[in-house]
């Protein structure tokens, strides 16, 4: 337990070390999530459009 506490404490520099690693994690994750979300939204829209076109063709 004491080892875990020392790990978090980082010799007194815990705040700086963990904030650094935390910011890095967030930035690296964002760079992964944002393009994926955008591509997914785009593909969904394209799907929607093609479905509407398909219905339009069925109706006419």
């Amino acid at each position: 337990m004491e080892q875990l506490e020392n790990f978090f404490h980082m010799g007194g520099y815990g705040f700086y070390v963990w904030l650094s690693y935390g910011i890095t994690l967030i930035v690296l994750l964002l760079n992964y999530v944002m393009p994926r979300t955008r591509e997914k939204k785009l593909v969904d829209r394209l799907n929607q459009i093609s479905k509407m076109k398909g219905q339009g063709e069925n109706e006419s």
Binding site: Y16, S20, L28, L30, L46
Partner: protein
């Protein structure tokens, strides 16, 4: 001998290649990050001068290296787009910019968080940090220019010119800032400059550097894939391959 590479100048083949390669790069990056972090926290001994705070080096230095490497890739892809007029290189160049800006931001933020316990201030006009700040402005200018121009092809070519002008300037800026910095302070010897970095501290650093590189490869492929689908959304291959299918 290199003819096979020209196949991937076609957006569709690049898309398929990116789909195949991304998991490899992504998972190996994850593994190496895990190994590197283990090394950073448990294998490397604490620095006798800086204590545990020096562990920030394992993000700060690879981010700084990546920020400069990515700029070179961005300029190279831009040049390829100017010379061979390939849409794929335009997409890659455009994708590099947010990643490069992120790495630069990380280098600055972690540098600042490292500096506060070391030098007592959140910011120091140290040569390396100042160069990184200027590099951030170069990235932001590139991103702003590309978003300001509506036509993608034109935006890519204008961005390529800007990136090439930046590449010529970066060595000048770098040495100017070093010179400027040594004017007013004596040469500051940081732990990084001294040649005697302990091998146990060095190995996790190299592992993290490779991990960052693999991460960059994976992310640039993901983003370039997205840019290509956006650009080619009306083309036949997008309709056939992607629409009504679940993407990886």
């Amino acid at each position: 001998m290199w003819k096979w590479i020209t196949k991937y100048a076609s957006p569709m083949h690049f898309y398929l290649l990116a789909n195949r390669l991304t998991p490899w790069f992504g998972w190996s990056a994850a593994v190496l990050f895990a190994v590197g972090l283990y090394g950073a926290f448990f294998y490397a001994p604490a620095d006798y001068q800086q204590g545990e705070s020096f562990r920030i080096i394992y993000i700060h230095v690879p981010s700084a290296w990546m920020s400069m490497f990515v700029y070179m890739v961005m300029a190279g892809a831009g040049a390829a787009g100017l010379i061979w007029k390939t849409k794929v290189s335009d997409a890659v160049a455009r994708s590099c910019a947010p990643l490069g800006a992120s790495f630069t931001f990380l280098a600055l933020a972690t540098g600042s968080l490292w500096g506060k316990p070391m030098w007592g201030t959140w910011w120091v006009w140290d040569a390396r940090l100042t160069s990184e700040l200027i590099l951030l402005f170069l990235y932001l200018g590139y991103i702003a220019l590309q978003s300001a121009i509506d036509d993608r092809r034109t935006a890519a070519r204008a961005g390529a010119i800007l990136a090439l002008v930046g590449v010529v300037n970066i060595p000048i800026i770098h040495y100017s800032v070093i010179w400027w910095n040594t004017l007013h302070q004596g040469p500051t010897i940081s732990k990084l400059d001294s040649p005697s970095i302990h091998i146990d501290m060095l190995i996790p650093l190299l592992v993290m550097a490779i991990a960052f590189n693999l991460y960059f490869a994976a992310m640039v492929l993901i983003r370039a894939r997205m840019e290509i689908v956006e650009q080619e959304k009306n083309s036949k291959w997008v309709q056939e391959l992607i629409v009504d299918k679940v993407s990886v």
